[in-house]
């Protein structure tokens, strides 16, 4: 089956983020989205550790240990950037001020339940960070993930088996096979990787509640 590359996925997400939006990009795959905004579109990136107006990575040798993103990687600022403390930063999420957050996931259910913080294994050391705050607070929650695990299991499921981050919070899912809106009737496919059919998508997804006429 043909698949979108990670950069193609990131580019597809970036296309859907409107001019002037305040956006938080989660750790991992979502950070790629920052490289794909068109130059004529102003999108303001939020970093949970207290920055609005995050810019690209610094040139080698100009990194500042006090200027990092949520992944603790060095960043720069764009003109107009602001610093603030943690309660303000999370007030932006929890108070519903962020327009979009893009999160990675272990599983997303047909109802839009998100599991992305804990595999539930007994020997795993749990870490939640800002995932629950983002998922429950942002105006729109986009998930960006591979459609299948390395073992070929669907990450889209009828019901999450991993511990939940937030129930019924996901608005749209971007995978390497398709883009789907979470609706009360199921997952509405709005775009698919060329060469993938709706039947194939249903077959590999963990649910039959996938519908739509993309393209």
């Amino acid at each position: 089956m043909t698949r979108w590359t990670r950069d193609e996925m990131a580019s597809r997400v970036a296309r859907d983020i409107p001019e002037g939006a305040y956006v938080n990009l989660g750790i991992g795959l979502p950070t790629l989205v920052a490289n794909h905004f068109s130059k004529d579109r102003e999108v303001i990136l939020h970093s949970e550790n207290g920055i609005l107006g995050v810019g690209p990575s610094p040139a080698v040798g100009t990194e500042d240990p006090d200027l990092i993103n949520a992944s603790k990687e060095p960043v720069t600022l764009v003109k107009g950037a602001a610093f603030f403390h943690h309660a303000d930063s999370f007030g932006m999420m929890r108070g519903g001020h962020l327009d979009v957050c893009v999160l990675g996931a272990f599983q997303v259910s047909v109802a839009g339940d998100l599991a992305n913080w804990h595999t539930g294994q007994l020997d795993a050391i749990p870490a939640v960070g800002g995932a629950m705050d983002l998922a429950s607070g942002a105006k729109q929650v986009f998930v960006m993930m591979e459609h299948l695990t390395r073992n070929g299991e669907s990450k889209i499921v009828e019901r999450c088996t991993y511990p939940l981050t937030c129930a019924a919070c996901v608005n749209r899912i971007y995978t390497d096979l398709a883009v789907m809106n979470v609706t009360s009737e199921g997952l509405e496919v709005i775009d698919m990787c060329s060469g993938v059919s709706l039947d194939e998508l249903k077959r590999v997804s963990g649910t039959s509640r996938v519908f739509g006429r993309p393209g």
Partner: protein, 203 residues
Amino acid sequence: MIGGFGTAGMPAELIDALIAQGATALTIISNNAGNAEAGLAALLKAKRVRKIVCSFPRQSDSWVFDGLYRAGEIALELVPQGTLAERIRAAGAGIGAFFTPTGYGTQLAEGKETRIIDGRPHLLEFALPADVALIKADRADRWGNLVYRKAARNFGPIMATAARCTIAQVSGIVDLGALDPETIVTPGIFVHRVVIAAGAATS
């Protein structure tokens, strides 16, 4: 309470002083649970900490915490990062508890009181005060007014408000009046001790 997000804003020199001071059986409130071998990780390694309250203990270089946790030698209270920040803010603002939707319906909601507010389920979360806050700022004056440096600000301003004794390490102390009143982030009323730490400035 120990400020910082990773190592940005972590008061490494104050933590070293705490290790030298010898206090033990501590409860630490901090976003992370230490990186590599220095700072908070060194405090954990010295077996001074009984319990840690944090949002993100597991990192690529958190092997000191990971080892203690797996050996059952440290207790962990895991708190969503925004709830952690808000519990600290509440403690500093005289708020006993608050309701938030964050965490509802998850493992971290177990045992917590819930209420439907405006049609949305919320969890009751309690204020999180501390005896002592160790934070890092950039500059201070004699009254304890503080300004910070870039994203090293993170938990500093809220932790300063939430402890009975707040100790700030700074890279320099300036004369009263030298800090522009419009730009002071933490007013001195929240700060009890200021310590100049040589090398505290990161650039």
